[in-house]
């Protein structure tokens, strides 16, 4: 009876254990393989990248010195991480979850595979499966290109993808495309990921308030989301799709903190008038003193020159 209860309890607890662990990778991503075989060079480069990007949370592989987080980052050398397929590790590194950031924009595809190569070096049982054909391209032998255009009335940017080969040009259908606007520190995704239709076209809505330059131009870049199938094709085009932005200098306005020339008018006036008033008063006093002095000398001269009015004797008042 106790045995049964124990078994049932265990079975009941199982899903709750699994809950914390469960980080489901989409089916199509699981089988993804590296395009190059792992060797000492890739491991070395992978170690360098690991130390920069992963070490602060996952610690040194095999030493169990990862930091305490929920969900736990775990040691990459342990089974918890090693039981993942190459594709799963790749996906988790590039997408991230919770506290684990996405490394899609930080590391290139090749760099993530090198990190995987480093992580795998701690697994003795690991045998690498390398992708046989580098590009399992949907359009073998064709050159895939993209064309961007802006429809001002509908506020839509259309991306047209086509594959050109000796036999002619065909639209690339069913391909995931991202539209990115160039900003000072990187590319910003506009709208969501779209899939090309039967004409090879994907339409992206442009928000009205998206700032462009002084003429409203924005440099757009379109990229395929699945490099494995379509190669790392991207196209940069400048389109007049943004809002006209005329930058205003933050030091343009008059302010207390600004330079002397841009001080508030009342400060300039008050200060100027104050200085004038002080100096005016000083000069006023000086002029008055001079006036008194001149009047005094005139009086003295008059007294001395007129014979009838001789200087009174000093003891006159007594």
């Amino acid at each position: 009876m106790r045995y049964r209860a124990g078994v049932i309890l265990c079975l009941m607890l199982l899903p709750s254990f699994a809950k914390g662990q469960d980080w489901v990778v989409p089916e199509e991503r699981r089988g993804r393989l590296s395009t190059f075989p792992f060797n000492d060079d890739t491991r070395k480069e992978g170690e360098r990248l690991y130390m920069i990007n992963c070490h602060s949370c996952h610690g040194d592989p095999g030493k169990n010195n990862y930091i305490v987080l929920q969900p736990s980052p775990g040691d990459p050398a342990t089974e918890k991480i090693q039981k993942n397929s190459d594709g799963e590790i790749f996906h988790k590194v590039s997408v991230g979850r919770g506290q684990m950031p996405s490394f899609r924009s930080v590391l290139t595809t090749e760099e993530i595979w090198k990190v995987v190569s480093y992580i795998r070096s701690f697994n003795r049982d690991y045998v690498q499966k390398v992708m046989q054909v580098i590009t399992s391209s949907a359009y073998p032998g064709a050159v895939i290109s993209m064309k961007l255009a802006y429809d001002e009335a509908a506020k839509l940017v259309s991306v047209m993808a086509s594959a050109t080969s000796e036999t002619g040009t065909v639209p690339v259908t069913g391909a995931g495309v991202r539209l990115l606007a160039r900003r000072y520190f990187g590319l910003m995704q506009v709208d969501e990921e779209k899939t090309t239709d039967n004409n090879g076209t994907a339409l992206f809505a442009i928000p009205e308030s998206l700032p462009g330059d002084t003429a409203g131009n924005i440099s757009f870049s379109a990229q395929f989301t699945d490099e494995q199938v379509f190669g790392s094709v991207s196209k940069d085009t400048i389109l007049n799709a943004g809002a006209v932005t005329i930058p205003v200098s933050l030091t343009a306005k008059r302010a207390m903190w600004n330079t002397v020339r841009k001080a508030p008018v009342w400060v300039i006036l008050a200060y100027g008038l104050g200085v004038l008033a002080v100096w005016g008063f000083i000069f006023l006093v000086m002029f008055r003193l001079r006036d008194i002095f001149t009047v005094g000398t005139e009086l003295r001269e008059r007294l001395q020159t007129s014979p009838g009015n001789q200087e009174p004797p000093k003891n006159q008042q007594i």
Partner: protein, 323 residues
């Protein structure tokens, strides 16, 4: 016997003569070869010099991407001098309006921002341009970590009080301090409501190694004893199109930095660029002490939905415990 001797002697003489002739021929051939080679070398050298002189110009790519030729004699090694560093440092980068967003829900006191900043600006471990503070609004509310750099206010009280125009605001919003002008009165320290400024009471760290360097107002290195220093939004990195030191050093995705004119901010960890206005609006962004009217250029996102427990102390300490 005598005849034999004579014969052999004459034979020897012949051999000597023969040898000397051979020697002579060998020597003259060698001398000839040396003369020809030397002559050729001198001639080719002469031709090379002549050709070089005939050109006399080098191709140079100018700042505005033009390929020009300038005479060799007029070439000078470029080294930005103090005058240039000062004038471009005062002017700032036209058309930009830098803005920083700090997501408090992600900060767990890794202190990488502090370390990166201190190493870039040659500061000691107790001298902060940016610091991570432990905050608790009231007894019943949870504590959280708050990185606090200079707020680069649009209405900066520190600049208003400076009597010598040493601290100033630029057109791109960055508030800088010019150690060439600073007299060390510390009025700005008193005026700043965010306590963003520090004073060099002693000789700055690495002052001997830095003494030969030209003073760069955008990096504030080399520092001077008896002057103020503060966070600079890494103005030197912005000029190169790179994110500030603290922003790119953060391992937890706390910092966003960008240009408000472009309405875009880039996360330093994931390098993901998002709309600034959307980020602020969706996450309830706020600024510190808005009642003062200082209008900071640093925005904070509240510490909500944290997926880790707040623990006093640094991340490094957990590691030591585990090890």
């Amino acid at each position: 016997m005598d005849k034999k001797e004579e014969g052999s002697r004459s034979n020897d003489l012949d051999r000597v003569i023969e040898n000397s002739r051979r020697d002579f021929l060998r020597k003259i051939t060698l001398a000839g070869a040396v003369t020809v080679t030397g002559g050729a070398a001198i001639y080719s050298g002469h031709r090379f010099e002549k050709a070089k002189h005939r050109e006399g110009y080098v191709k140079v790519l100018t700042e505005d991407n033009r390929l020009v030729e300038i005479p060799v004699e007029q070439m000078r090694d470029f080294k930005p001098d103090l005058k240039m560093l000062q004038s471009r440092g005062r002017e700032g980068i036209p058309g930009r309006k830098w803005v920083m967003v700090i997501d408090l829900s992600k900060c767990r006191n890794a202190r990488k921002c502090v370390e990166a900043c201190q190493s870039a600006h040659h500061l000691r471990p107790y001298e902060y341009h940016i610091n991570t503070l432990v905050m608790q609004e009231s007894v019943n509310t949870p504590a959280f970590f708050m990185p606090k750099p200079c707020q680069h206010c649009d209405n900066p009280p520190c600049v208003s009080v400076c009597p010598v125009d040493a601290t100033f605001k630029r057109q791109d919003g960055v508030v800088l301090i010019d150690n060439e002008r600073c007299i060390g009165c510390r009025f700005c320290m008193a005026a700043c409501p965010y306590s963003a400024r520090i004073f060099h009471w002693q000789e700055p760290s690495q002052h001997e190694a830095d003494s030969e360097k030209e003073y760069n107002v955008e990096l504030n290195v080399p520092h001077k004893k008896g002057t103020i220093t503060k966070c600079l939004f890494s103005a030197d990195r912005l000029r190169e199109g790179m994110l500030p030191y603290c922003v790119s050093a953060c391992p937890n995705g706390v910092f966003y930095f960008g240009d408000e004119n472009e309405d875009a901010v880039t996360n330093g960890t994931t390098k993901e660029t998002v709309r600034f206005s959307e980020l602020i609006e969706k996450n309830g962004g706020y600024r510190l002490m808005p009642e003062l009217g200082t209008q900071p250029r640093v925005y904070y996102l509240p510490p909500k939905n944290r997926i880790f427990e707040f623990e006093e102390g640094e991340k490094r300490e957990y590691k030591e415990e585990k090890a």
